[in-house]
């Protein structure tokens, strides 16, 4: 449909000082950000930070008590019905009718999105195919696995081909394979020009998918930037130097205290430096060791992770349960390359 392509080159999503109160609780206290067309914004924050409320305001489910929000130039308060024409929403839980089949669920959304009747069937088939649900298309959704439900939910959000997509914790509760599948789909959509706002508790997800990241806590924006910027500014780089025996390690640890925070563990010396100084500190380390004729056995620079950033910003880890802080050694997927020359 891609109808109301409105104000031309402006950002696809704009939040200006959004405020939402629930009784005495101010859940969102003046949140502002912009998402350029065709980009992905990752909205991060601990549980209860106000992420979902922000999404609900932007998707017209909840009226803001203050501030303004526009999607493709359409004000969410003044023109909610038109906003709904251009957005897709996949929420925290799979919002599908369990007693309908996969195909019937998509047909229902197609009808309610006012697609031309002759387009509804083919559109449903395309989506079922794309989300690997063709075989299960005629089974009622209550027989679906968790991953299948999520895929059907996302497919339902895409029935009317919305140019702007809101994903509220799209992969929470999915196994790693399900998560990877969903990431691939989201990347495809973005390659096709869709603007995405994504909330997540998984920092790896934000790192993989998001062009820009906004961190909120207690209803306020507390940091904003690309993953790389945030890591450089707020993360910690670690230089890990291994020596052949403990004595040498001790000597080296003493000399390296001038470079960064030193932590010796047997033959290993860990050097913590601010995120953006990783490379420079590495050079200095090499210089210091070379001058003293101390030859290391191993020398590794660890880039800061979003987990560090999150921890230093909010004082606690983002993920609950499996947030064991080993983000640095997780197999990291390639970062999505910025797509040069996207015509817009």
């Amino acid at each position: 449909m891609a109808s109301a392509r409105t104000t031309g080159d402006g950002p696809a999503i704009v939040a200006e000082g959004l405020v939402k109160r629930f009784g005495d609780v101010e859940a969102v206290r003046g949140v502002s950000f912009e998402v350029p067309e065709g980009r992905v914004l990752g909205l991060l924050g601990p549980n209860g930070a106000g992420k979902t409320t922000v999404v609900r305001m932007l998707t017209t489910l909840v009226r803001p008590d203050g501030g303004a929000a526009r999607v493709l130039g359409l004000d969410v308060r003044a023109r909610p019905q038109q906003v709904r024409n251009v957005i897709g929403l996949a929420g925290q839980y799979a919002a599908i009718d369990e007693n309908l089949t996969g195909r019937e669920n998509l047909r229902l959304v197609g009808k309610l999105s006012h697609l031309a009747p002759r387009d509804i069937g083919p559109r449903a088939d395309v989506l079922l195919e794309r989300f690997a649900l063709s075989e299960a298309a005629n089974r009622v959704a209550r027989t679906y696995s968790g991953g299948m439900r999520r895929r059907l939910d996302l497919a339902a959000a895409l029935v009317h081909q919305p140019p702007v997509l809101f994903l509220d914790e799209p992969t929470t509760g999915l196994d790693p394979q399900g998560r990877n599948e969903l990431w691939d789909v989201i990347e495809d959509l973005v390659d096709g020009g869709t603007t995405v706002l994504l909330t997540t508790q998984y920092l790896e997800e934000a790192d993989t998918l998001a062009d820009n990241i906004v961190v909120i806590d207690h209803g306020n924006v507390i940091a904003e930037g690309t993953a790389a910027e945030l890591k450089a500014r707020l993360g910690t780089s670690t230089i890990e130097i291994g020596f052949r025996d403990d004595d040498v390690a001790t000597t080296a640890a003493g000399m390296l205290a001038s470079v960064g925070g030193v932590d010796r563990d047997g033959k290993l010396v860990h050097l913590s430096v601010p995120g953006e100084h990783g490379a420079g500190s590495m050079l200095e380390t090499v210089r210091v060791l070379d001058d003293a004729r101390l030859e290391p056995a191993t020398l590794v620079l660890r880039e800061p992770t979003l987990d560090d950033v999150f921890l230093s910003l909010t004082g606690h880890a983002a993920e609950e349960g499996d947030g064991d802080g080993d983000g640095a050694v997780k197999t990291r997927r390639r970062r999505r390359q910025p797509r040069a020359g996207r015509a817009r």
């Binding site: 019905q81 839980y93 009718d97 229902l108 309610l112 999105s113």
Partner: protein, 276 residues
């Protein structure tokens, strides 16, 4: 389509697009809810088991005792069946609220509200589907009634009018319980919250026993509350004229039905708009 103008016509178009789609969207929701009933036929069966037990129990267990307090010339089974119909559909209207609470709980209402569909369609569609369900339940109860000896003392036209009146009241009660369903968090709560209202409406009425047998402080309520008025109208239409049966109960019943829908539907739609 490109370059849609969003300036001065936008507000009006917003309102238009809503109204333009009410019928189509409601039909889609009816379709969805009827599919739900078809996929869970046991719900329809359970909806009729309890009223069938009531028919058998009151007809054969309590009937003999109650017969004595009826005006001469009326048989208890003819008196009972209109009460059972109305009791059945009033209890059945609870499913409207329970179903909405479930949709809300599962996030389906969020999905619907994020679509460019008419705001009233989810409720119009839900109450419409429940009307279809009630139609089948009442047909089934008629069959049960005929089996246990229920007779129509009037004519076919008035029997059909009684049938329509019962369904009309069922529709009105669906809107009333839609408000409950949209005000609570889950199906269990919807059920628990509704039950006291149901009990007062159904049992403190003329459904099973004549109001004259009740204490005088209760009679005022029991005589004029909507359930009794509708039951009396159905009795008038199926038994015919007689002591305690009055033609004026029919317009009164219609007034209750129209009044309940007129009050409850806007409240329910307003709740739906704000539901979270």
């Amino acid at each position: 389509m490109s370059a849609v103008d969003t300036s001065r016509y936008a507000d009006r178009r917003d309102a238009w697009s809503e109204r333009r789609f009410v019928v189509g969207d409601s039909v889609a929701i009816v379709w969805r809810n009827l599919l739900n009933i078809r996929r869970n036929p046991e719900l329809l069966v359970f909806a009729t088991v309890q009223p069938v037990i009531f028919v058998l129990m009151f007809r054969y267990v309590f009937g003999g005792a109650i017969q004595g307090s009826l005006p001469a010339g009326q048989t208890y089974v003819d008196y009972l069946m209109p009460g059972v119909f109305v009791q059945t559909i009033v209890f059945g209207s609870l499913t409207t609220g329970v179903g909405l609470a479930e949709d809300l709980n599962k996030g389906l209402i969020d999905r619907f509200r994020s679509l460019p569909m008419a705001r009233s369609a989810v409720l119009v569609g839900r109450t419409g589907a429940d009307l279809v369900r009630n139609f089948f339940v009442v047909v089934l109860m008629c069959v049960v009634g005929f089996i246990v000896g229920w007779t129509i003392g009037t004519d076919f036209v008035r029997f059909v009018a009684a049938f329509v009146l019962i369904l009309g009241f069922a529709y009105a009660m669906s809107w009333a319980f839609a408000i409950v369903g949209l005000s609570v968090r889950d199906a269990e709560t919807a059920q628990a919250v509704s039950f006291p209202f149901l009990a007062v409406l159904v049992f403190a009425s003329s459904a099973f026993v004549p109001v004259a047998t009740m204490p005088s402080w209760l009679q005022g309520w029991a005589e004029h509350q909507p359930v009794s008025v509708v039951i009396n109208a159905v009795r008038y239409l199926t038994i015919g004229s007689g002591p305690g049966l009055n033609a004026s109960s029919v317009p009164k019943a219609i007034a209750w039905i129209v009044g309940i829908v007129a009050v409850c539907a806007p409240i329910a739609v307003a709740r739906y708009r704000k539901a979270t």
